[in-house]
Symmetry: C2
């Protein structure tokens, strides 16, 4: 396959940006992968790990001559990156990102990039609780659904080129509206994040925790796994998708209250509650694993 | 090592009973492992899988001459098993179990077994969401904490023999009071179970679920894993540990309300909420993995 892009610039070289660099280089989808991270030393470590070909010392150096620029930072930092990269963006260059919410960044791109903004929001539905370039993995995106959210300024050819990139990375492009994306991930990604953090906080705040911790095993470990993720990323998710998350939190609290009532009544019908949950999850899991 | 027991009878040959049979046979800790399950065909399948030496056609056949009887059934079924096995129990035989709550079964044992009841409650802190003899695994208990809850009738020598068995299986015996056990597992095992089931039910009940399900990935999978467990086991946990679970559900709902308020205020201090959750979980995980 000829290179899809001559020069890709990845801004932000943590778990997601580093994994993308590894994946693009593994699949030889670009002539050069340049990278930049403002955290001291991280650009060099990404280069040592083989996530980028060219460590840039400034954002401008990474972006200049790139025909694809990928923002790989927590959502709020992407606004700063968009403003900073705009003066250096080559004509015809495309910009995308990897963050967990899409409405805010699509709005910033339309406002800050040259008109019409050559931007498509991106969100690979893959991750892990570890963060940083050390956790990067070129196989992270394989088989994952990768949301692409065009704006009303997006050129169809720009979208098509990103769909080709996602497919070439072994992921499944899914084009949808940014607002719809944010509603859906509030349910299946952000609510689980808040629920897991709340679960850890509830039990760890209790005087019994030192004793209870000894009994905690794989069920506790898995139910709370996502609570070990990057708190800054979680903050930005909450600040840019608050309305969606609040709706799902209210529905979740109402469901817990409803289960509480059945439990308090000592009603053996609580079995049906667990049966329905198991059946819904198992049906999802079968489809998820078949993809 | 000489056999710790001449003849072990395992009553109930699902995930837990089958795994125990495999583990005892792998470690050659008993002369004979007899087994019985009331589900048609399961006793034979357990024999084929090598989880037992001797498939019994009745509970009495399994129990007769056993010097250790292990109840491996959902909690409420253990009451029935205790009543049924008592007439057949050999003099000097010990009885234990593997269920997730301990106060109820300790009470039933004291009431139903010959006085003083040769009983110690048991609860290996290990499991998986699959159930049935097909999911049994002789390595399931290795490294796990295994709670042992003596009653006021338990002979110290009986407890010591079970501690030896648990240690020989590669697990870590932890002796504690049944009521205290139930309080602690309500926090780290039963609350996660209810939280996971509620999470699945919340998102799967929504009209957006077919679309949201496509975006659900490893975070959703892990946060909800325990919701795929046996609903009958979950029912019995709820019916025999309702008071403890209700307290933890109330604390959990209060924590969710507290996070909701910070989120609704658009307060960037929500980062500290996630930081504290991550730090508490990571500290637990380090200790858990060091065991």
């Amino acid at each position: 396959m000829p290179d899809l892009f001559g020069r890709v610039a990845i801004l932000g070289l943590g778990l997601m940006g580093g994994s993308l660099g590894l994946a693009i280089r593994d699949a030889r989808l670009a002539g050069t992968v340049a990278g930049y991270d403002s955290m001291p030393g991280r650009t060099g470590r990404a280069h040592e790990r083989g996530a980028i070909d060219e460590p840039a010392t400034t954002l401008a150096d990474a972006v200049v001559d790139a025909d694809l620029v990928v923002l790989a930072a927590p959502v709020l930092a992407e606004r700063v990156l968009l403003a900073a990269l705009t003066p250096h963006l080559a004509p015809g260059a495309i910009v995308t990102d990897l963050a967990s919410t899409k409405s805010a960044v699509c709005g910033w791109a339309s406002a800050l990039l040259p008109d019409p903004a050559p931007f498509v929001g991106g969100h690979p539905m893959a991750g892990r609780e570890q963060s940083g370039i050390e956790a990067a993995d070129g196989g992270l995106f394989r088989g994952a659904v990768w949301c692409l959210t065009p704006t009303d300024q997006t050129d169809p050819d720009t979208l098509a080129r990103l769909q080709s990139l996602v497919t070439a990375l072994g992921a499944q492009p899914l084009v949808l509206d940014a607002a719809r994306h944010d509603q859906l991930v509030a349910a299946v990604s952000h609510l689980p994040l808040v629920a897991a953090a709340a679960l850890v906080r509830t039990v760890a705040a209790d005087p019994a925790w030192p004793d209870a911790a000894r009994l905690a095993a794989s069920g506790f470990r898995d139910t709370t796994r996502v609570a070990s993720g990057d708190p800054l990323m979680a903050r930005d998710i909450c600040l840019t998708n608050a309305a969606g998350i609040l709706l799902w939190m209210d529905a979740y609290i109402a469901e817990l209250q409803s289960i509480r009532a059945v439990l308090a009544a000592g009603d053996a019908a609580i079995e049906q509650i667990f049966t329905a949950a198991r059946d819904a999850r198992d049906a999802w899991l079968r489809e998820h694993e078949a993809r």
